[in-house]
């Protein structure tokens, strides 16, 4: 069995599970975000009265943090009341940040766990050797009411990444390249494991970016075998009790692919599909209106550090907006302490408090018709960050920062 299968086997109380089998699994950590009040409605509609495991349910006020309409405020108010009523205490309010980063910061995301959140980018937790997957509101209501959810045991693809990345190339460039080669539907219903010397050399931050983006190839979950880097990260955050699963030597992957990171130049996903990937070099000089640094993909401390290093002592281009949204409260505090926020704001960046902000086009920096945005986020769908007539290019945090300086799509290498 694969390590991911062993997680499903353990959580469903079975010795063995097989690809394609439907299993009913006990969920270790269930997360709800503030977009989906339907979760509470579905809970009522099925006549459920009490959460079975209120200590394992986390509320994240991240997508509308803080509320910018009366409806959003009312939805959040109802969520707070629901958690009070249920005696569930893990409410991450509007001051905490984006769910996936908050879980990482607090040491809640651990190897061997089954983590289910009402957010499609829950694949991120594969970076810790967990089985992380996103669901909708009614599936979440089922978990609240029963503690369990059914899953189809997925096929698993292994992607091996070797080679040393060139300066100005990051995990974001590598995963965009991979998605561009494979297509947005390549891993639909499947798990994606990353292995190889490049992945081993990467920090938890880079690994999270890699796993996060597997959602954009349709993946159900992702996986990186926990190692010393993972162990150190968890230790620093007080996470001690967990079980690391290991894939059996005779496990047969649905597909095995290899990429050479040394041959990948900086990448861009051009409008309006994440698999519309081209080398950055082909679009240099394209005028932008907004540069966006943030989200569960590109708003971590390392991302902000790279961007701050690029813009320090310089000024962003006149007429360009540079929005910086740290992924979490801890990220913001650390970035303040290290002086990154000062460098960014001095250069002309607009600081937004930790949240999903404009990444999903609800508030805080939407795009007007005809505008162009370069973004460190995960989706460039039509209308994703505002007008359906705006264009979004996805890139690494470094490319986003360099582009903010030039007011046009720019190569970060000269600034590093």
């Amino acid at each position: 069995m694969h390590a991911l299968e062993k997680i499903l086997a353990k959580k469903s109380g079975k010795d063995v599970v097989r690809t394609g089998e439907i299993v009913n699994c006990a969920v270790d950590l269930a997360g709800i975000n503030d977009l989906y009040l339907q979760t509470v409605r579905s809970f009522r509609e099925i006549n459920a009265k009490r959460m079975v495991n209120p200590g394992q349910v986390v509320m994240f006020m991240d997508h509308y943090a803080p509320a910018s309409t009366i409806i959003q405020a009312d939805n959040q108010k109802r969520f707070r009341a629901f958690f009070r009523e249920q005696g569930a205490e893990l409410v991450m309010d509007v001051n905490e940040g984006v769910c996936h980063q908050v879980l990482a910061d607090k040491g809640f995301s651990k190897p061997g766990q089954l983590i289910v959140i009402t957010d499609s980018h829950t694949t991120t937790h594969g970076a810790f050797g967990a089985f992380g997957t996103g669901v909708g509101a009614t599936d979440m209501a089922t978990i609240l009411a029963t503690g369990k959810l059914w899953f189809r045991v997925p096929e698993i693809i292994r992607i091996t990444i070797n080679g040393k990345t060139a300066p100005g190339v990051y995990a974001k460039d590598v995963i965009l390249h991979i998605i561009g080669k494979l297509g947005a539907d390549h891993a639909v219903y499947k798990g994606v494991e990353f292995a190889g010397e490049t992945v081993s050399s990467w920090s938890v931050s880079e690994r999270m970016a890699l796993c996060n983006m597997t959602t954009e190839m349709g993946a159900k979950c992702s996986y990186i075998q926990p190692d010393g880097v993972t162990g150190e990260f968890l230790r620093e955050r007080g996470a001690t009790h967990y079980e690391i699963m290991h894939t059996d030597d005779d496990f047969r992957y649905a597909e095995e692919l290899c990429f050479d990171a040394g041959e990948i130049p900086p990448q861009l996903a051009a409008p309006s599909s994440v698999d519309n990937v081209v080398p950055l070099a082909g679009h240099l000089g394209l005028r932008i209106d907004q540069a966006y640094l943030g989200s569960c993909t590109g708003g971590r401390l390392e991302d902000i550090a790279v961007a701050a290093g690029i813009v320090k002592g310089r000024a962003i281009a006149k007429g360009t907006r540079f929005l910086v949204v740290p992924a979490s409260r801890k990220t913001l505090l650390d970035a303040m302490e290290k002086g990154y926020i000062r460098s960014l704001v001095n250069a002309g960046a607009t600081l937004i408090t930790p949240s999903c902000a404009a990444c999903l086009g609800t508030h805080q920096g939407l795009l007007a018709p005809g505008e162009v945005c370069i973004s460190a986020t995960n989706r460039n769908f039509p209308g994703r960050m505002g007008s359906t007539e705006a264009a979004i290019y996805l890139a690494s945090p470094a490319t986003v920062a360099a582009s903010a300086l030039e007011g046009a799509i720019a190569d970060p290498s000269p600034y590093l």
């Binding site: 977009l35 989906y36 957010d119 909708g136 009614t138 947005a184 539907d185 639909v188 219903y189 349709g218």
Partner: protein
């Protein structure tokens, strides 16, 4: 309750139609189903919500419903009257959401290249046969598997669960 034979007009869409096109993010704060229904497919075709009739069938290319976990995407299609969605593959969260709500999401590798927008088709979910108005066989859907069919036949996951919490 779940209809074994579905008949309706075809609305045709391309591949990788994401949940932001099915239900734009700026409307996710809405929770009342009548409000949610007004914005069905608004990011792809702003006329769709007004044009779609009860039982009409949405036929699309692969990876329909990729993207976000918003249940609104399945909710809005059901609320506007869509009888089924037929595509070569579906975004996995959208697929779960649709089946949970009792919306038939049917897998067929090639129907999107065999029909024209506006024509009437019928789908026999049991036999898998898809036919045009003259009765000509157009293609077949993949059989709906045991547990998915059980949910659909129950009218969605909520009636099934309600039984547990009586």
């Amino acid at each position: 309750m779940f209809e074994k034979t579905l008949c309706g007009r075809v609305f045709l869409f391309g591949k990788n139609v994401d949940t932001d096109q099915i239900y734009p993010g700026r409307f996710v704060e809405l929770t009342d189903i009548d409000d949610v229904a007004k914005h069905a497919m608004e990011g792809a075709d702003p006329e769709f919500a007004a044009a779609c009739g009860k039982g009409d069938i949405l036929v699309a290319g692969g990876n329909f419903g990729c993207g976000s976990s918003r249940e609104h995407a399945a909710d809005t299609l059901k609320a506007v009257g869509v009888g089924a969605v037929v595509a070569p593959s579906f975004g996995r969260i959208f697929y779960r959401n649709g089946i949970n709500l009792g919306l038939p999401l049917l897998v067929c590798p090639d129907l999107h290249s065999r029909v024209t927008a506006g024509e009437r088709i019928s789908i026999d979910v049991k036999s898998g046969e898809i036919r045009d108005e003259s009765g000509q066989l157009l293609s077949r859907i993949q059989p709906v598997t045991g547990y998915m069919m059980h949910i659909l036949e129950s009218g969605g996951i909520k009636p099934l669960l309600r039984g547990q919490f009586q």
